[in-house]
């Protein structure tokens, strides 16, 4: 192996050794990931925490201290234990409802956008009607009609009311994919509609589906807490919303018992901000056009282009640097 070839193979192998390098994750992505992971860890930590969320360990609003890092709530339960259990419940509801909402939204959007015609008119008509009615109202109406609400029924209810905007976003994407040539190829080769939808259309909108899912999860968590604060939460279970509900009902804010209401408030804020930020940064990863390059990167790119131009101008004696354009973007990704 001759020496001039060695750096080229190095650069070529670099992106393969680390598949994430080509994704060009931003700082924003890592910040949001840390927030989301922290919330998940908080929820899971409750499984290991010695005190149960229903265990009475003190009296009304004992201040933090003495083995109770966040004091007690109005029932005399350990706030930290309730917070962990509540976070877990909220996450479960968020995941289940988010999955349901994304699945319905993607299915409706795919069919409407791809098939078109009267089916699209009808499906999008329904979507727009459901979108126009505030979802919290539908949630309230369904919840008061349910004789007993568990976290599962609540998750399903939230899921089946939250899909319309996902359907609308997916429809727009699917109808643009429908006009591409590979769809004609699939049709000519005799593929049926379900297979075309799943194999030839779905992969193109998967990134949107993932982002929609992220937003649906946080939306569902917030919807659950809104319902719980109105008194329609899951009965007999702790969630972030029921925790706030009881804190408000027992005047925690007015009496200054900050440990009873600040933790769920902060976790809810972190959930909504973290998931929104995660969605925004995933958007940047999937959609390179949205990346507003950092100054440093742009300077590097400009310097690199200048170098390339100089190498080209210097003549053909340096084929290793000029012939292969690929190492250039990967090295830029590595530098960022």
């Amino acid at each position: 192996m001759s020496t001039p070839n060695a750096p080229v193979t190095d650069e070529k192998s670099a992106p393969r050794s680390n598949p994430f390098r080509s994704f060009n994750f931003s700082t924003r992505f890592w910040v949001s990931l840390v927030i989301v992971v922290a919330v998940v860890v908080l929820g899971l930590a409750g499984l290991l925490y010695p005190t149960g969320s229903g265990e009475k360990v003190g009296s009304l609003y004992d201040a933090p201290g003495g083995g109770l890092p966040l004091g007690t709530d109005n029932f005399g339960h350990d706030v930290l234990a309730v917070l962990m259990a509540g976070t877990r419940t909220s996450l479960i509801i968020g995941l289940v409802a988010g999955t349901i909402a994304t699945a319905i939204g993607v299915a409706v959007g795919l069919v409407a956008g791809f098939v078109g015609g009267w089916l699209e008119e009808v499906l999008m008509g329904i979507t727009n009607v459901v979108l126009a009615i505030p979802s919290i109202i539908v949630l309230i109406l369904i919840s008061i009609s349910l004789p007993q609400s568990s976290i599962w029924s609540l998750a399903v209810v939230i899921g089946i009311t939250a899909w319309p905007w996902t359907a609308r976003a997916v429809r727009a994407q699917a109808s643009s994919v429908a006009t591409r040539e590979h769809i004609d190829v699939a049709r000519l080769s005799g593929a049926r509609l379900p297979s075309i939808l799943l194999v030839d259309v779905l992969p193109y909108i998967l990134s949107y589906a993932v982002m929609a899912f992220v937003l649906q999860v946080s939306g569902a968590i917030l919807a659950e807490s809104a319902l719980s604060m109105l008194g329609l939460g899951p009965s007999g279970t702790d969630s972030l919303g029921t925790q706030l509900h009881w804190a408000l009902a027992f005047q925690a804010v007015a009496t200054g018992a900050w440990w009873a209401f600040l933790p769920p408030t902060i976790v809810l804020t972190l959930v909504s901000f973290g998931f929104l930020l995660l969605q925004a940064s995933l958007d940047e990863v999937f959609n390179p056009r949205l990346r507003r390059g950092k100054k440093k990167q742009m300077k590097q790119a400009a310097a690199r282009r200048a170098k390339e131009a100089a190498a080209l101008a210097a003549g053909e004696q340096a084929p290793a640097a000029g012939a292969d354009p690929r190492p250039v973007p990967t090295s830029a990704g590595g530098a960022a």
Partner: protein, 336 residues
């Protein structure tokens, strides 16, 4: 597509949405297993304060009012007839108070908080977003991050934080309620002055989140418009920056009008719980009390009023949009 058809089509869709909403409002609470009046009356009398004779009287009132002895479709028309003549029924929990009176007392408080919050928040949010986009640099970055944070924050989380920090800890504002004890709502200077001091917190917590949401949208629209061909052209023609800014602002404003339509529903939903946090005597608090007492007529009246208000607001916004932007009428056939 001309303006007349646009308006006609929108009117059609909103009528469908209205019928769907009224239908849901009618149907869902009737899905409660068993005769809802039986359940409610037995719940009501469990306290023991109501004699058998009163119970019978209450029972008969409700059966007659809802027409429960008649088939479902007839009940629906009874319901429709009552709704359209403005009769919202009789409260279960505060028998024999009429729902109209209860809602009538609560509604002015909610409107007084929400309407200014929507209008002021929309104008300020757009200004802030536009300035952030034009200025760029650090100003943009700090405005964008804080707006994103605020807009992602649930209304009630900010409410709780504001209530705790500004009212409980700092003592700048009164803690909860809408006016001081001992005063009765009346149109006197003394009462209004007192009510204003209670007004600030709910108003602020709605308007701040709303400003954030609008600013995020306006910023990205303005950045998009900054790269438009007409901007380059205007620059090349030597048109002054102020004039170009005006062009950009007007173009970027358009999608913000639809943005307003979409956010009204969320704000109204968020405001329900904000009122709860501040114990503000508006529709949200009334709804909360009604839910805790299984007061179906009141719940249904509130959900109906909110739905109609949100649909009406969205409808007005869309019609205004049709007048303001000629493109929407041209492009409408494509975008559903």
């Amino acid at each position: 597509m001309n303006l007349g058809r646009y308006i006609l089509q929108k009117t059609g869709w909103y009528l469908v949405a209205l019928v769907a909403a009224v239908g849901l409002n009618f149907l869902l609470p009737r899905l409660v297993p068993g005769n809802p009046v039986d359940v409610i009356v037995s719940n009501l009398t469990r306290g023991g304060s109501i004699t058998g004779e009163q119970q019978q009287q209450i029972y008969e009132t409700y059966v007659a009012e809802f027409g429960l002895d008649k088939p479902l479709w007839e009940q629906f028309f009874t319901y429709l007839g009552k709704v359209f003549t403005g009769d919202l029924g009789t409260s279960f929990a505060n028998y024999p108070a009429s729902v109209n009176d209860l809602v009538g007392q609560a509604l002015p408080w909610s409107v007084a908080v929400q309407l200014p919050a929507i209008l002021i928040g929309w104008v300020l949010g757009n200004l802030v977003g536009a300035i952030a986009a034009f200025r760029g640099g650090n100003w943009d970055r700090s405005v964008f991050t804080s707006s994103l944070f605020l807009s992602s924050m649930p209304y009630y989380c900010l409410s709780i934080l504001l209530l705790y920090v500004l009212a409980v800890v700092a003592g700048v504002f009164p803690v909860g309620g809408a006016y001081s004890l001992g005063l009765t709502p009346e149109l006197s200077a003394e009462f209004l002055w007192d009510a204003v001091s209670y007004y600030w917190l709910p108003f602020l917590s709605l308007v701040i989140v709303f400003i954030g949401g609008q600013a995020v949208g306006m910023r990205s629209m303005a950045i998009y418009e900054l790269g438009g061909d007409y901007v380059n052209y205007a620059r090349a023609m030597g048109i002054r920056d102020n004039t170009i800014t005006k062009y950009i602002f007007r173009n970027a404003m358009l999608p913000q009008i639809t943005g307003l339509a979409l956010s009204i529903g969320t704000l109204v939903g968020g405001a329900l719980i904000t009122e709860l946090v501040f114990n503000y005597p508006g529709v949200g608090t009334l709804l909360f009390n009604a839910i805790s007492q299984n007061d179906y007529p009141v719940i249904q009246a509130i959900t109906l009023i909110i739905t109609v208000a949100v649909l009406l607001a969205n409808f007005v916004v869309e019609i205004v949009y049709g007048f303001v932007d000629p493109r929407i009428r041209a492009a409408k056939s494509g975008e559903k």
